[in-house]
Subunit: 107 residues, 2 copies
DNA sequence: TAAACGTACAACCAAATGGTTACATATTTA
DNA sequence: TAAATATGTAACCATTTGGTTGTACGTTTA
């Protein structure tokens, strides 16, 4: 059967362009919600919902600091995507990458 | 701004567990629709819709052969996901992987 | 040629998704 | 303390998503 549609679905989380942009912003710096929202042409509420989805996927986390809530990136769950992708790499990659696979397998 | 929500959105295409399973099936073998549908607990029509989405993302293609339509995998668009991921790898990977990055950059 | 097979497609549906506005609450700051 | 700032949250909405059933149509095959 297919991979179960988990509560913390990282594939679903990264399927939205807005959420990918949020990840990129947080890769640069941790930021409060309002600063994140400033980068988008949508309401702060809408951005907050995206932050919740990313939080459920454990790709980000927020801490309260005074009246602000500061979000930071946690890229670890992306390894699941990387592992999934690695299965398909052999179908398209070249010899240089084959070498890379050998290195990978040494882990 | 965010990555445009393209017509052929590979991130959206792979966000669904059923579609990821279809890709896995086609990675093994090219198959007609009915054979793909047999692997799922849903109607053939529903599976066909997933095949259309994967086709729009150019991850698969189908050819008519007699009364069958045979689908095959085209994994190339997954490189977009791989490239996107590579930006985040530096945040989590270890030194062995750093070496791998050096090799990668030689391309 | 009649029946079975494989697919295409229209119409419909419930739930999820991605957005909104309005208002409440907590924290600084003037 | 009053005002401004930052966030939380409820209620609502349109569209998309992921599924269904029913029917039609081309292709074997008995």
């Amino acid at each position: 059967m297919a991979t179960p549609a988990e509560k913390h679905d990282v594939f679903k989380a990264i399927s939205d362009p807005t959420r990918r942009e949020v990840l990129r912003l947080l890769a640069e710096n941790e930021r409060p919600i309002s600063e994140i929202a400033d980068h988008f042409d949508m309401s702060r509420t809408a951005v907050t919902k995206h932050l919740q989805i990313l939080t459920e996927a454990e790709l980000i986390s927020g801490r309260k600091e005074g009246r602000e809530k500061i979000y930071q990136l946690h890229p670890e769950p992306l390894t699941e995507v990387k592992q999934w992708l690695s299965y398909y790499e052999k179908f398209w990659e070249n010899k240089l990458s084959m070498l890379k696979h050998l290195v990978e397998d040494e882990k």
